[in-house]
C-alpha cells in the first residue's frame, strides 16, 4: 500500500515514519490518510485560524471542542457551530444535506446541550438549469426531511445564488443548543479505566474515507469517485438525542463525542488526545451491519447516528438499559488507558498502534505558497454609472425578482420552524429570534456572507461578511455573544486562492475582534471546485445575539402609517459587486465597501440605543439590492405603501442601489423624530419619505409601483 493511495504527501509520510520510528502498517496508513486529510486535520488552515480571537466575557468554551459555548445568563449557556456538507451534497443532494444536518446536531448534543434551532446556508448556481433545480430541490428536501423529523426547528438561514456554485453547491448547517453551565460535557474528562461505549446505529460500509473525499476536488465523474453514500436516519437521531439526555440526567456520562468524519477513529483518538489518556478499541465488538468488515473499515466507517460515550464500567448495565429503551444499539467497544496509545484490537490481535496525539493532532501544517492574484490589479476601478431614468422601473423590478432578493418562503416553508414552540421571529425576517424557556431570555440569530465583495477585495470582503450578519442584530437590539463560521473556498494549492483565503480570514478576524465578537467555533471546507469552475470565496458567518426581553426588540417589516422614513449612514453605498452591477455589466469591477471600524462601532451603539428607546416601528439594514430593495421589502412585509422623496443629487445609483457599509432605513414614529434625530446626529441621517395608506411605492421624480406589482415580482 502506497502512501499516495491514501492521499498523504511525501513529507507527511516521512513525518509519520519519524514519529513512529517505523513504517506504518496498512491499517495505520489508511487511518492516518483519513485523519491527516484536510477535512480532519485543518493542515492548510490551522495557521489562518490562529488569527481569530476566541476570547470574550461571554465565552465559556472556544474552538477545539465539538461546539463553542457562550454564557446567556442565569447559569445557562448556548452551544453553537456551523459545519459544511458540500461535497456529499453535490453527489447525493438529499442524503448529503440530510446527513449534514444530522452531523451538526450531534455536535451540539456532544457538549450536553439540547438542540434548539438550526439555520442553513445554501449556495446554488443561478441559471435555472435542470441539474441545478433538481439539486436545489434535493438539498432543501434533505434539510427539511432530517431536521423536521428530529424535531429541531430550522429558523433561518442564507441562500445565495451565483453560477460559480453550479456543480459546486454549498450546504452549511448550523445548530444552536441550550445547556446548563454545570452540565457541559467535554472530551477532556476521560480517565484510564473507563469504558468506551458506542450507542446508536450499526456500523456499515458507509462513507469510508469520506473525509478524504471531501478534501479533494470533484473529479469529472463524481459518481465513480465517491464512497458508499451515507444514509441519514433522523428517526434514530431523535432516539439518540433522547437517550443521551436521559443518560446525562442520570449523570452517567463522563465524556462524549459524536462520530462524524472518520467515525470511531476520530472520536476515540480525540477523546484520548484531549484527556491525555490512551484508548483501545476492540473492532470485533462493534455491531456491524455488513458482513466481513475489516478492522480499518470499522474504524473509519462514517455510518450516521452514532455516539461514543465514556462511562464508569460499573454503570454499563444502566447505560445499556437506557439505550434499549430508546431502541438503540449499545456495545462496550473499548477502554480508556493510561498509555497514550490509540490501538485497534481485533480478536485479540493489535492491528493499529499509534500515539493518540499523532492520530488527530500530528499532521504537520502546510504553508501553501501565497500570491496576490493578478486580476485584483485590473479591477480596481469601475466605470461610472449614471441613473438610467427610463430604465429605473425595469432595474428595480429585475432586482426585486432576482433570486438573491426574492422571497425564500419556498425554502423555509419546507422546514418545520415552529416545533419546540420557541420561534418568536421565524424565517423571512433579517434576524430570527428564539425564546429560551430555561431563563426567559431570547436569542437572535443571523447568517450571512459577502462572496462578491470577497472576490473583489478579500480583506474588506471578509470584514463585510461579518458585518452583514452583525448589523441586523444590532439594529434589532441584540447584543452579539459570539460567532461561528464556515470557510468555503476552492483549492488552497493555488497561490492565488490561498492569498484570497488568507486575506478574507484576516478581514473577518480583525472585524470580529474590533466588534468585540469572539469566534467560538467553525469549520473549513476547501477544494470546492470542479474542472473549469471554482466557487467564489465564501466565508459564511453565523452569529448568536442576546435579547433580555422582547420589549427591546425592534422588528423589520412593521411600517406604520404616518411614520417617517429615514436613511442612516453614508448616503452612498458601493456599486462594485452589487446586484445593480451584476445586472447591468458582465464584468464585476471596482472597490466594494471599505471597512471603517469607527463607523461600524458608532452604528452599533446608535442602533442599540434606537431599539432601546422605542422610537421606531421598524428597521431594515440595507443589503443586497440597496436602498430601493430595502424599502420594497419593508412595504411588502408590512403591506403598506410609501412615498419616497429624494433630492435630485440623491437620485444616483450609489444611493439607490449601492450596497455595503453601515446603512439602514428606519420607520420613525412621528412624535419620536426628535429622539431619533438626536441618536443619529453626526452619523449621516436623511429623511427619505413617509409611510402611506395608499398601496403604492412611489419614488418621486422617478417612478411609482403598486404594492401588488412589487409583491408579485418578489414572490415566487
Amino acid at each position: 500500500m502506497n502512501y499516495k493511495a491514501v492521499g498523504l504527501r511525501e513529507e507527511e509520510y516521512q513525518a509519520i515514519k519519524e514519529l513512529l520510528g517505523r513504517e506504518p502498517n496498512e491499517s495505520e496508513l489508511r487511518i492516518l490518510g483519513v485523519m491527516w486529510s484536510e477535512h480532519c486535520s485543518y493542515k492548510s488552515t490551522r495557521p489562518l485560524l490562529k488569527m481569530f480571537n476566541s476570547e470574550g466575557k461571554y465565552v465559556i468554551q472556544g474552538p477545539g471542542e465539538n461546539a463553542g459555548i457562550v454564557d446567556i445568563g442565569d447559569g445557562w449557556a448556548a452551544a453553537f457551530k456551523v459545519e459544511s456538507h458540500n461535497h456529499p451534497s453535490a453527489v447525493e443532494p438529499y442524503q448529503g444535506a440530510a446527513t449534514g444536518v444530522g452531523g451538526i446536531i450531534r455536535d451540539i448534543l456532544a457538549v450536553g446541550a439540547w438542540p434548539t434551532a438550526c439555520l442553513d446556508g445554501l449556495f446554488f448556481g443561478k441559471t435555472p438549469r435542470n441539474s441545478t433545480l433538481s439539486l436545489m430541490d434535493g438539498i432543501v428536501s434533505g434539510i427539511g426531511g432530517y431536521g423536521n423529523a428530529v424535531g429541531v426547528p430550522t429558523v433561518g438561514g442564507k441562500t445565495f445564488f451565483d453560477d460559480s456554485y453550479e456543480g459546486n453547491p454549498l450546504v452549511n448547517a448550523m445548530c444552536v443548543g441550550i445547556v446548563s453551565q454545570e452540565k457541559i460535557i467535554t472530551s477532556k474528562t476521560a480517565k484510564a479505566g473507563q469504558l468506551a461505549v458506542l450507542i446508536g446505529s450499526r456500523t456499515g460500509r458507509d462513507g469510508i474515507a469520506g473525509a478524504a473525499f471531501a478534501s479533494a476536488e470533484l473529479a469529472e465523474d463524481t459518481k465513480s469517485s465517491k464512497p458508499q453514500v451515507q444514509i441519514g436516519d433522523p428517526f434514530v437521531e431523535k432516539l439518540l438525542i433522547e437517550c443521551c439526555h436521559e443518560l446525562l440526567r442520570e449523570k452517567l456520562i463522563a465524556s462524549m463525542q459524536d462520530m462524524g468524519a472518520a467515525g470511531i477513529t476520530s472520536s476515540a483518538s480525540e477523546i484520548a488526545a484531549k484527556s491525555g489518556t490512551g484508548i483501545y478499541i476492540y473492532a470485533d465488538k462493534v455491531p456491524t451491519r455488513d458482513e466481513n468488515m475489516t478492522p480499518w473499515e470499522i474504524a473509519l466507517s462514517e455510518s450516521q447516528e452514532r455516539m461514543l460515550v465514556i462511562i464508569e464500567p460499573e454503570n454499563y448495565e444502566r447505560v445499556e438499559k437506557c439505550a434499549q429503551k430508546w431502541l438503540l444499539e449499545c456495545a462496550p467497544i473499548g477502554e480508556v488507558t493510561d498509555d497514550g496509545r490509540f490501538k485497534i484490537i481485533n480478536n485479540g490481535k493489535t492491528v493499529v498502534d499509534l500515539p493518540a496525539e499523532m492520530v488527530g493532532g500530528g499532521c504537520p501544517e502546510i504553508h501553501w505558497p501565497s500570491q496576490k492574484p493578478a486580476y485584483l490589479e485590473s479591477i480596481e476601478t469601475e466605470r461610472a454609472y449614471t441613473l438610467p431614468q427610463d430604465a429605473f422601473r425595469d432595474i428595480c423590478l429585475s432586482i426585486i425578482s432576482d433570486p438573491n432578493v426574492k422571497d425564500k418562503s419556498w425554502i423555509y416553508e419546507q422546514y418545520d420552524h415552529t416545533v419546540q414552540i420557541n420561534t418568536v421571529v421565524g424565517p423571512g425576517n433579517p434576524v430570527s429570534v428564539i425564546r429560551v424557556k430555561e431563563n426567559n431570555k431570547f436569542l437572535a440569530l443571523t447568517m450571512d456572507c459577502a462572496p462578491w465583495s470577497c472576490w473583489l477585495d478579500p480583506y474588506n470582503g471578509g470584514a463585510e461578511s461579518f458585518l452583514k450578519a452583525a448589523r441586523p442584530l444590532w439594529a434589532c437590539g441584540a447584543e452579539i455573544l459570539g460567532m461561528t463560521d464556515c470557510l468555503n473556498y476552492p483549492s488552497p494549492e493555488s497561490p492565488e486562492n490561498y492569498w484570497i483565503l488568507t486575506e478574507t480570514v484576516r478581514g473577518l478576524a480583525q472585524t470580529a475582534k474590533d466588534m468585540d465578537c469572539p469566534v467560538v467555533s467553525g469549520n473549513v471546507s476547501l477544494y470546492n471546485e470542479s474542472p473549469g469552475k471554482k466557487i467564489l470565496p465564501s466565508p459564511l458567518v453565523g452569529l448568536v445575539g442576546l435579547l433580555e426581553t422582547m420589549e427591546e426588540f425592534l422588528p423589520s417589516g412593521e411600517l406604520e402609517e404616518g411614520d417617517v422614513l429615514f436613511l442612516v449612514g453614508p448616503k452612498k453605498g458601493f456599486l462594485a459587486g452589487s446586484l445593480f452591477q451584476r445586472l447591468l455589466d458582465k464584468s464585476i469591477q471596482g472597490k466594494p465597501a471599505q471597512y471603517t471600524p469607527t463607523a461600524e462601532i458608532s452604528f452599533k451603539e446608535r442602533a442599540l440605543r434606537t431599539a432601546k428607546d422605542k422610537c421606531c416601528s421598524s428597521v431594515r439594514v440595507i443589503g443586497s439590492g440597496g436602498l430601493v430593495t430595502a424599502i420594497a421589502k419593508e412595504c411588502v412585509f408590512a403591506q403598506k405603501g410609501a412615498s419616497i422623496n429624494l433630492k435630485s443629487e440623491h437620485l444616483v445609483p450609489e444611493v439607490l442601489f449601492g450596497e455595503g457599509g453601515p446603512r439602514a432605513i428606519y420607520s420613525v414614529k412621528p412624535d419620536k423624530i426628535a429622539i431619533f434625530e438626536h441618536i443619529w446626529q453626526d452619523f449621516g441621517l436623511l429623511k427619505i419619505g413617509t409611510v402611506q395608506k395608499e398601496k403604492t411605492l412611489e419614488f418621486l421624480g422617478l417612478s411609482s409601483f403598486s404594492l401588488l406589482e412589487i409583491t408579485s415580482c418578489w414572490r415566487r
Partner: protein
C-alpha cells in the same frame, strides 16, 4: 401497442434501509419473530405505448436512469406484460 411494465426498485446491498429497520423492529415487537428481515423498496407500474416489447423496455430503462431510480443507492428489475 400498450405495454404494462412493472419496475421493482430496491436499495443496493450495504445501503442502510432506514424504513426496513424500523418496520422489522415493530413486527418483532408484535411477535412476528419468524420474520428474519425486511427490505422496503418501490413498486412502479408504467403503461407505455411502443411498437414492440424491446422498445418499451428500453424506454422504461431510460426513464429509470433519468428520473425514477437513484443509481447511487438503488437498483431495479423490469418486467413487461403486453396488454393490447
Amino acid at each position: 401497442m400498450l405495454y404494462h411494465i412493472k419496475v421493482l426498485v430496491f436499495l443496493k446491498d450495504g445501503v442502510l434501509d432506514t424504513q426496513g429497520k424500523a418496520v422489522l423492529g415493530s413486527l418483532h415487537r408484535m411477535n412476528y419473530t419468524d420474520l428474519k428481515d425486511i427490505r422496503i423498496g418501490k413498486y412502479l407500474q408504467l403503461w407505455v405505448e411502443a411498437s414492440d416489447e424491446d422498445t418499451a423496455r428500453n424506454r422504461v430503462k431510460a426513464m429509470c436512469s433519468d428520473l425514477l431510480v437513484n443509481n447511487l443507492i438503488e437498483d431495479y428489475t423490469i418486467e413487461v406484460d403486453e396488454l393490447s
